[in-house]
């Protein structure tokens, strides 16, 4: 027993020594390594594929402009095949054998939580470029996607004003849906409305007949949806098929972020109100240039979605920080990111909030019209107020958890 204990202790210590970030990392001239870890196949690849394309585009763009600090950028990508076990595995691979300087990736919150500790231990900055439920507080991570408060804060007042005060909430049954539903009822209350009922659905539910009957029984003025993924798309079809669409209007915090509106017919989709940070119709030079480059590189701009734009902007934000720090080393890059750094991306100006490492960005209130997202109103520079409530990395730089947002 003594022997084994001793043995384990030594091997563990050895492994610890080996995994320390090597001081003699790449000399100048070697390429800077950017790790990308996304579900390019499997059930989440509708999100992962455009994100991977966006990463390729961003890296090629940076390299064409002479790279960073005079060094080319090499993209090291792994396909996690929508399998959570592969996330941990590839994250270790990126850190230990590939020795990357930054990691961009992760789609589901579960995948982010699977790799966040690994990257934190290894001192590799991590960018999570996806809209999510908010609350992550860790100095090693930067979250460039929108969080519920930014989105719901814009969506609910407009929807209540337009459609009425009695609301029925449908949400996906996981962290994102649960937290978004909380924010929905918070803002419904704040705007003088009333939530009649909230229902949660596991991600594989595709039969909404009973729910549609229940909604009819409750007679709301408005249905709010935070339904997620392919199976939940059936709700919109069944809703339209039952003829309810012309009776009760819909607003959603998720529909369209993965280009779902292209799958629905105009009759099924028209008039649904949504809010995101990006729309192809945003009329600014950065967005036009982005669309042109995408078209030249990949052909079809219809594949671009919110996730792709977030990933593209995330990589450029990191590049900006590297330029400012004049090195790819961990601490200077994080400090540069905390200096209130920002870029003009396709979605408008996007900056990092130093307190939370979340993004401050523009929001677009939109309506689905003939399979496209048309902007009704723009809101500039929304703060991640949900995460700000709990997280202050300036005061507690060693914080390392995801706060459960409780309103």
């Amino acid at each position: 027993m003594i022997n084994r204990r001793h043995f384990l202790a030594t091997t563990a210590a050895m492994a610890g020594a080996l995994s320390l970030p090597s001081i003699l990392r790449a000399q100048s001239g070697d390429p800077i390594k950017l790790g990308s870890i996304l579900d390019v196949s499997g059930i989440f690849d509708a999100y992962g594929k455009p994100m991977d394309m966006a990463a390729t585009l961003a890296v090629e763009e940076l390299n064409a402009a002479g790279g960073l600090l005079g060094r080319q950028i090499e993209k090291v990508s792994y396909d996690t095949q929508s399998d959570m076990a592969l996330y941990t595995q590839f994250a270790q691979q990126l850190v230990r054998s590939d020795k990357v300087h930054v990691v961009h990736g992760g789609i589901l919150s579960a995948s982010r939580e699977a790799i966040r500790p690994t990257l934190r231990k290894a001192n590799v900055p991590y960018f999570y470029n996806v809209l999510y439920e908010g609350g992550v507080c860790d100095r090693n991570i930067v979250c460039t996607g929108i969080t519920p408060a930014q989105q719901i804060e814009v969506l609910i007042p407009a929807a209540i004003e337009k459609f009425g005060k009695k609301v029925y909430v449908l949400a996906a049954d996981y962290n994102y849906g649960q937290i978004t539903a909380k924010w929905m009822s918070h803002y419904v209350g704040e705007n003088g409305g009333e939530v009649l009922a909230t229902e949660f659905f596991p991600l594989d539910v595709s039969d909404f007949g009973a729910t549609i009957a229940k909604i009819q029984e409750a007679k709301p003025d408005l249905v709010l949806s935070a339904l997620v993924g392919g199976a939940h798309l059936s709700f919109y079809r069944q809703w339209a098929a039952s003829g309810m669409k012309d009776r009760i209007p819909l607003a959603s915090s998720t529909l369209g972020s993965g280009n779902e509106h292209l799958v629905l017919t105009p009759q099924e989709g028209n008039g649904i109100m949504v809010a995101y940070s990006w729309s192809p119709s945003i009329d600014i030079p950065a967005n036009k240039a982005f669309l042109d480059k995408w078209k030249t590189r990949f052909g079809d701009v219809a594949t671009i979605n919110e996730f792709a734009v977030n990933n593209y902007q995330g990589i450029h934000l990191w590049a900006e920080a590297v330029k400012k720090a004049n090195t790819v080393d961990h601490d200077p890059v994080i400090e540069a990111l905390e200096s209130g750094i920002g870029i003009d991306g396709p979605s408008g100006k996007i900056a990092i909030d130093p307190q939370t490492h979340h993004a401050v960005l523009d929001m677009q209130l939109m309506e689905i019209r003939d399979q496209s997202l048309s902007v009704i109103k723009s809101f500039s520079q929304r703060q991640p107020i949900d995460t700000q409530k709990f997280c202050d990395l300036k005061a507690n730089p060693d914080d390392n958890k995801q706060y459960e947002i409780d309103i």
Partner: protein, 288 residues
């Protein structure tokens, strides 16, 4: 009162969906004692055929009712000749081989169609019952499910082909002695089961979106319905679909959607514990 009508339609609809998604599997299992775990992908294939046909300008009903069953039936024929026929009599081996087929088809779908959701618009508008709306398409599905069951019953009971099929399944040796080509009977039955799956997949396509992994949503439910129903194709399917459809829909209405699903699964375990060979029992005695 109006609400009661809506609820009844919802329950019938959920039974109809179970009947449709399990009929193809039931024919193949009930007649041949082969469990086709690629059944979910056969349904998905039917859906894709209907969508592609519709997109290329063909009439939607033609695509759903004719094109999809024919194409998936032919695919079933190929699968039977290449894979399944080598494994007759070895239940577990067919399950494993068709499981492999299921994975391979899912992979092929995502390579061919890309891993996005696709769908076709719903062809029927809703109906108004008092203050409530019900989907016109739900009623269509209920009718379609009833018709499918009726046709299977008539074919098996009242036609020469059905007689031959039943004879060949119950006593292959005798049927062979009478000069029937057993191999062809198996092949035809498998293809017919596949065609039913194709029909069901196409009929469901306007209601639920379709992605390469859609099959996984059906297979477990279809599998449970068929096994709990037992070996009898028509009676078994109707009995277990009726039971599970009502249980899951009532629990969904009263509690939540998870409540409905878990109620269905628990009911299946309890049922199999009480009736170890399914509702219509008599596992190895063939069709009754």
């Amino acid at each position: 009162m109006d609400f009661a009508v809506v609820v009844t339609v919802e329950i019938l609809h959920s039974i109809a969906v179970l009947v449709l998604i399990s009929s193809g599997l039931a024919v193949i299992f009930g007649m041949m004692r082969v469990i086709n775990l690629a059944h979910g992908e056969f349904l998905t294939l039917g859906g894709y055929v209907a969508i592609l046909g519709h997109r290329s300008g063909l009439n939607l009903y033609f695509c759903m009712l004719v094109l999809a069953p024919v194409v998936v039936g032919l695919w079933g024929l190929i699968v039977e000749r290449l894979v399944v026929r080598w494994l007759y009599g070895r239940l577990i081996n067919t399950m494993l081989a068709t499981w492999g087929l299921s994975l391979a088809m899912t992979g092929a779908f995502s390579m061919i169609f890309g891993n996005t959701m696709t769908g076709i618009p719903n062809p029927l508008s809703g109906l108004t019952v008092g203050n409530y709306q019900i989907g016109g398409y739900s009623l269509f599905l209920i009718a379609a499910a009833a018709l499918v069951m009726l046709v299977i019953y008539i074919v098996l009971k009242a036609t020469r082909a059905g007689l031959i099929a039943r004879g060949a399944m119950q006593r292959p040796d005798m049927a062979q002695a009478f000069g029937l080509n057993i191999s062809h009977v198996y092949m035809t039955t498998f293809a017919a089961g596949a065609a039913l799956s194709g029909l069901a997949g196409a009929l469901l396509a306007p209601l639920v979106g379709l992605s390469p992994g859609s099959g996984a949503n059906y297979i477990a439910k279809a599998f449970i319905t068929v096994i709990s129903g037992g070996a009898s194709v028509v009676t078994g399917t109707i009995a277990s679909a009726g039971l599970f459809g009502s249980i899951s829909q009532i629990f969904t209405l009263v509690t939540s959607s998870v409540g409905g699903e878990i109620a269905l699964l628990v009911a299946a375990v309890v049922l199999l514990r009480l009736m170890p060979v399914g509702i219509t029992g008599r596992f190895f005695k063939g069709w009754t």
